[in-house]
């Protein structure tokens, strides 16, 4: 396996320039989306099928009663234990050697289970129309620029970040850096923390958050839904076993009935003579 990399996002260094959003659209060739004004500088409410990362702008009253204007680069977390991968009935979602989670659009049937089960709500369905005018859907999300990683390049959003709020590197080194950064900013942001939730086995996007996760609309302790675990780890293997057993049964029946019928035919043949 290749070195395990993570994207380290230090939101306290972000100045909200949105270059990461532009770089993502540019690299992944994603079309622009017309949006209504949301009442703040934020362009999209959340990530969509054509906007794989969104910069959040949050006006927050801190513990001293003062206004903090918080920014967060939000995109797929690339969970180590990804709920989307677990619920996908077509095995269209898989892990790469880099630990990133990617969707195979050839296999995706657009069922939307991944959309409903993602604890961070980053996956969306895109509607397509085929040449017969029939509509079909495919799930879309950030790929962590796996196509760039395979060529030894860092993700597009990371390379464009001018404040150094994003880095991409060895997992242990990045987590250490994040922990040291939290110590540095404790005076200014007493609630600062490293966000690398254990409930999903850790993620491949590690944040230094200035405030509690809920301030950013993130779950405090995201988990892979129990139904997803039941589905992938128990129901699916059991189902496959059952299919195997049923198939064997049917084949067994077929062969045995053939043997019996043959016996009968032979008997019948004798009686004709």
């Amino acid at each position: 396996m290749a070195t395990e990399y993570v994207k380290f996002v230090d939101v306290t260094k972000c100045d909200g320039c949105r270059a990461c959003m532009v770089a993502c659209k540019n690299w992944n060739d994603l079309p622009a989306e017309q949006q209504d004004f949301l009442g703040s500088a934020q362009s999209h409410a959340k990530t969509t099928a054509d906007t794989w990362n969104v910069l959040q702008y949050i006006e927050h009253e801190n513990s001293k009663g003062k206004l903090d204007y918080l920014f967060r680069h939000s995109a797929c977390f690339h969970c180590t234990d990804a709920a989307c991968e677990k619920v996908c009935p077509e095995n269209a979602i898989s892990y790469t050697d880099f630990g990133t989670v990617v969707i195979d659009h050839e296999k995706c049937v657009g069922c939307g289970y991944c959309v409903n089960n993602c604890p961070f709500e980053v996956i969306s369905l895109k509607e397509y129309v085929d040449k017969n005018g029939d509509k079909y859907r495919k799930a879309h999300k950030c790929t962590m620029c796996t196509d760039r990683l395979e060529e030894g390049l860092q993700p597009a959003c990371v390379t464009t970040c001018h404040t150094g709020a994003m880095e991409f590197g060895d997992k242990a080194a990045m987590i250490k850096k994040a922990e040291e950064r939290v110590k540095q900013i404790k005076d200014r942001y007493p609630n600062a923390m490293v966000y690398n939730p254990k409930g999903v086995g850790g993620t491949h996007t590690v944040y230094v958050l200035a405030e509690k996760p809920s301030v950013y609309g993130l779950p405090e302790n995201p988990k892979v839904p129990t139904s997803a675990v039941l589905w992938k780890d128990y129901a699916q293997p059991l189902g496959k076993m059952m299919i195997g057993a049923t198939t064997m049964g049917v084949i067994g029946m077929f062969i045995s009935s053939r043997i019996i019928n043959k016996g009968k035919q032979d008997e019948g043949g004798d009686s004709h003579e």
Binding site: D147, L153, Q154, F168
Partner: protein, 269 residues
Amino acid sequence: MKKTIVSKEYQNLQKDIIALQENWKKSINPDSINPELDKAAMSAGVPAAALTSINFEISLFLQWIEEINVLLSKNNPELEPKLAGVITLLNEETVIRWIDEAFSFNSVYFASFAQENGLDEWIPQFLAETALRPYLQLTAEKIQHEVTHAIPGAGCPVCGEPARLAVLEDEGKKVMTCPRCLARWHAKRIECAHCGNDDHNSIQFITIEGDSSNQIQVCEKCTGYIKVIDTRQYLSKPSASMLDLNSIHLDFVAQEQGYQAVGEIKQTY
């Protein structure tokens, strides 16, 4: 997206050769390299290695040539008979000549040596150059702190190799690197390494669609080009020699567009 047109096999062979050179470098006695830097000569563009007295160890040089022959034969067994006789042609006198001629990149000498001895034309110069590089690289390491900039048109300030590769670092700082001796020196972001032209109107950049980390900087005045590689985008930073090899498609593009690896200003009388 593909970052290079060079096959994995050839890249691996080059990596093996570089690994050998790294090993060889360790066996050189650092005291055998004595730079006698002359600021006046260097500011006139004389490469520092030419001002350095190097005590070459002939037996080491011969041993390295044998090692490189083994590696090449292992990689491509067809080469074995072609390389087998080379070592017998080398005596002390020839080795000294090889070192001198490799240093000054005298292709004519090596071509005639190959012809006289019935060797493939590439063999003598390739072997001599490969075995010379550890000495050049160690020289560059030793005097790196003295090397801050280069004289336009004079090539690498350490070994004299034509300047052709720059990398972008930190906040976009352009650092010229020599794929031959691995020396590094600073250059202005908009400046031709061949003629010193720093007029932004006549320095252009050629980029290749989908190739976000590479640029070709071309000078309209001397028609020279250099490759500029944004290694800040890389997961791990390859050596200058691997960068030079892997970006060979840029040389093709630049030369197809009429630019030259060594620029020249046309004299009008």
